[in-house]
């Protein structure tokens, strides 16, 4: 297994080829049911493919969790415009490092998912938008694409049918915002990654102003398994309304961090203690982020009895998000966490919407001052109020992504803010650092 040892509790569907010799090669792929699903889909009507996708209960793995089959059904197949398949491989949500493995170890699974999506919506070209930092993956994907052309799985009249499909990689160049679907499409057109106002949604007006299916890498990678084994079989792996498995990135203060493929609905407690080996150094958990830094933070008490699925997280007023789990132990300074998260969003705000551009910049300043021991008591409410004023007032979710974790930290860890008041040094900084400071 690459990067980390697998866990016996995993259910490996999308990651089934991880660790096989030459797992990225088309030979390995074909020897392990590769392109079988595509052959099957070629015999199906587009409506049947979409029905199968709906039956799978697959929900978008990029963070929003929108039902994939429904998303595909919004594409106007009869439109005279060309349609496009776009893969969001701009994995940038802090805490998330799973798409990297899917592309590194099984690029053909992604290509096969794109082909099936192409059949479903009558698209004949697909773009994989890869974040610039993942250059080595572009090389791997380009090799896989060349192999697929060579073996007749990309190109004209595939497998003797009249279906043709071309696939391309496209590199980003460092911009979190380009992981947002409409900003990604702007970036793909050679522009600044600034969000588009919606509607129209990308399904109708997407890449190059044409109907487009835009999904996360992991979403496309689930498609071959769904077509091969049937939507119902995939759905049965998860919970009602959320089918299948989710690649989950355990990060932070956990003994065995790593990327693990777990069924939807997996208990949080079991995930941390049995899959992740518990909290590092035998400490207690203080806080938990379920799916990337955009999600509201949960306290350890809120995680009791909680399961990893979309609806269970929504009930706790947070999100399953991208699968980037961040675990924080009892010695973590939550003011510092709030500051670091806000520094990120202030850096990544594209500046298009004023509440986000100004809000993140001011919040960063206030949190910085606060963590330095120069906060004022009224700043605690100010942080919450400023954040709430960003919510829902921007074209894209980046403003919300900055506000939501901040609001949750202020509400749930207010005592930690108070502990930084009156010029007191951060109670969690190491003694050694204080001496040198």
């Amino acid at each position: 297994m690459p990067y980390n040892e697998p866990s016996p509790l995993e259910v490996r569907v999308l990651s089934r080829r991880f660790g096989l010799p030459n797992s990225a090669s088309i030979e390995t792929y074909l020897a392990t049911d590769g392109y079988v699903a595509f052959r099957k889909a070629l015999e199906m009507k587009p409506e049947q493919i979409i029905e199968e996708m709906k039956a799978s209960n697959l929900r978008g793995r990029g963070g929003a969790g929108f039902p994939t089959g429904m998303k595909w059904s919004f594409v106007p197949r009869s439109s005279p415009k060309p349609k496009y398949i776009v893969v969001n491989a701009d994995e940038s949500e802090p805490g998330t490092c799973k798409d990297r493995l899917l592309m590194e170890y099984d690029p053909h699974q992604l290509i096969e998912g794109m082909l099936i999506a192409g059949l479903a919506v009558d698209a004949h070209a697909g773009y994989i938008y890869v974040r610039g930092e993942y250059r080595y993956l572009i090389d791997i994907l380009d090799r896989a694409i060349a192999e697929a052309y060579h073996c007749g799985y990309l190109g004209k009249n595939l497998l003797g049918t009249n279906f043709s499909f071309d696939a391309y990689t496209h590199t980003g160049a460092g911009a979190y915002e380009c992981g947002e679907e409409s900003a990604l499409l702007e970036s793909l057109e050679g522009k600044r990654g600034i969000p588009r106002i919606r509607p129209p949604f990308p399904a109708v007006v997407g890449a190059f102003q044409c109907p487009t299916v835009l999904n996360n890498v992991e979403t496309y990678c689930a498609v071959p398994a769904i077509m091969r084994d049937g939507g119902a079989a995939f759905a049965a792996l998860g919970v009602p309304k959320a089918g299948g498995t989710k690649l989950t990135c355990l990060t932070g203060h956990v003994s065995k961090p790593g990327v693990y493929e777990l069924p939807l609905g997996f208990p949080v407690d079991k995930m941390i203690n049995e899959v992740g080996g518990g909290i590092r150094g035998g400490k207690k958990m203080k806080a938990f982020i379920p799916g990337g830094s955009s999600c509201p933070v949960l306290t350890a008490a809120e995680c009791e009895g909680l399961t990893m699925d979309y609806d269970a997280m929504a009930k706790k007023k947070t999100m399953l998000g991208s699968g980037g789990v961040v675990i924080m132990d009892e010695d973590t300074c939550m003011v510092k966490v709030a500051l670091r998260i806000m520094r990120f969003y202030a850096h990544e705000s594209c500046g298009w919407c004023i509440p986000c551009r100004e809000g993140t910049a001011w919040l960063r300043k206030i949190l910085f001052r606060f963590h330095d021991g120069m906060g004022r008591r009224e700043d605690i409410n100010l942080i919450g109020d400023l954040s709430k004023n960003m919510l829902g007032r921007t074209f894209c979710p980046l403003g919300d992504a900055a506000a939501l974790p901040t609001i949750s930290i202020v509400e749930k860890f207010r005592d930690e803010f108070e502990a930084h008041l009156d010029g007191k040094p951060c109670p969690y900084e190491h003694a050694s650092q204080l001496v040198t400071a």
């Binding site: 990067y3 980390n4 060309p82 994995e91 940038s92 949500e93 802090p94 805490g95 998330t96 490092c97 798409d99 990297r100 070209a125 773009y127 974040r131 610039g132 930092e133 993942y134 250059r135 080595y136 391309y168 496209h170 590199t171 980003g172 160049a173 460092g174 911009a175 979190y176 970036s187 793909l188 057109e189 050679g190 522009k191 600044r192 990654g193 190059f208 990135c249 355990l250 990060t251 932070g252 203060h253 961090p257 790593g258 990327v259 982020i289 830094s293 980037g324 961040v326 924080m328 973590t332 510092k336 966490v337 670091r340 998260i341 990120f344 850096h347 990544e348 594209c350």
Partner: protein, 160 residues
């Protein structure tokens, strides 16, 4: 402006990747791939990319100022990018950052006097489960300790 034959081949392929009349789409990849070869985005490169993508130099500049990996000044031969975002922060990323700054005597986006190494504190690079992590140019280094960082920086200093 002329580039290596590999880069020219890459550009040819890029320009054929997009629908007719959509050469502008190649702008960001072209800038990044060319920057990798020549070291930075020069004015000459801006004009060349504008010419090849059917845009104006102003449109290219507008785009390049948005993307954090594109830079107008040359960086070190080894560009050391240390992540201090949440998962790396929790596992010692800030200590690595401080250590690298102290050892090299340079700060964020600065280059050593000999031009060998440059430093940048970066946002999440997608290595969160193997944190703390850094990248030297495009190569990933996972679960980095201060000792491993020392060895790495020493080896990068010796590169000619």
């Amino acid at each position: 402006m002329t580039f290596s034959s590999q880069l020219e081949a890459r550009f040819d392929k890029l320009l054929k990747s997009y629908p007719p009349g959509r050469h502008r789409s190649a702008m960001v990849p072209m800038l990044l791939y060319a920057q990798d070869e020549i070291g930075s985005v020069t004015q000459e490169l801006v004009e060349e990319v504008a010419r090849r993508t059917g845009t104006t130099p102003l449109q290219v500049e507008e785009v390049l100022s948005y993307y954090s990996m594109l830079h107008r000044k040359p960086l070190g031969k080894a560009h050391v990018q240390i992540c201090t975002n949440i998962s790396c922060l929790l596992t010692g990323g800030e200590d690595l950052w401080d250590h690298a700054c102290a050892k090299l005597g340079i700060g964020h986006k600065e280059v050593t006097a000999d031009g060998q190494i440059s430093l940048e504190e970066v946002e999440c690079i997608g290595a969160c489960s193997w944190a703390p992590a850094l990248q030297v140019n495009y190569d990933f280094y996972h679960q980095v300790t201060p000792e491993k960082l020392d060895q790495l920086l020493d080896s990068l200093r010796k590169l000619t």
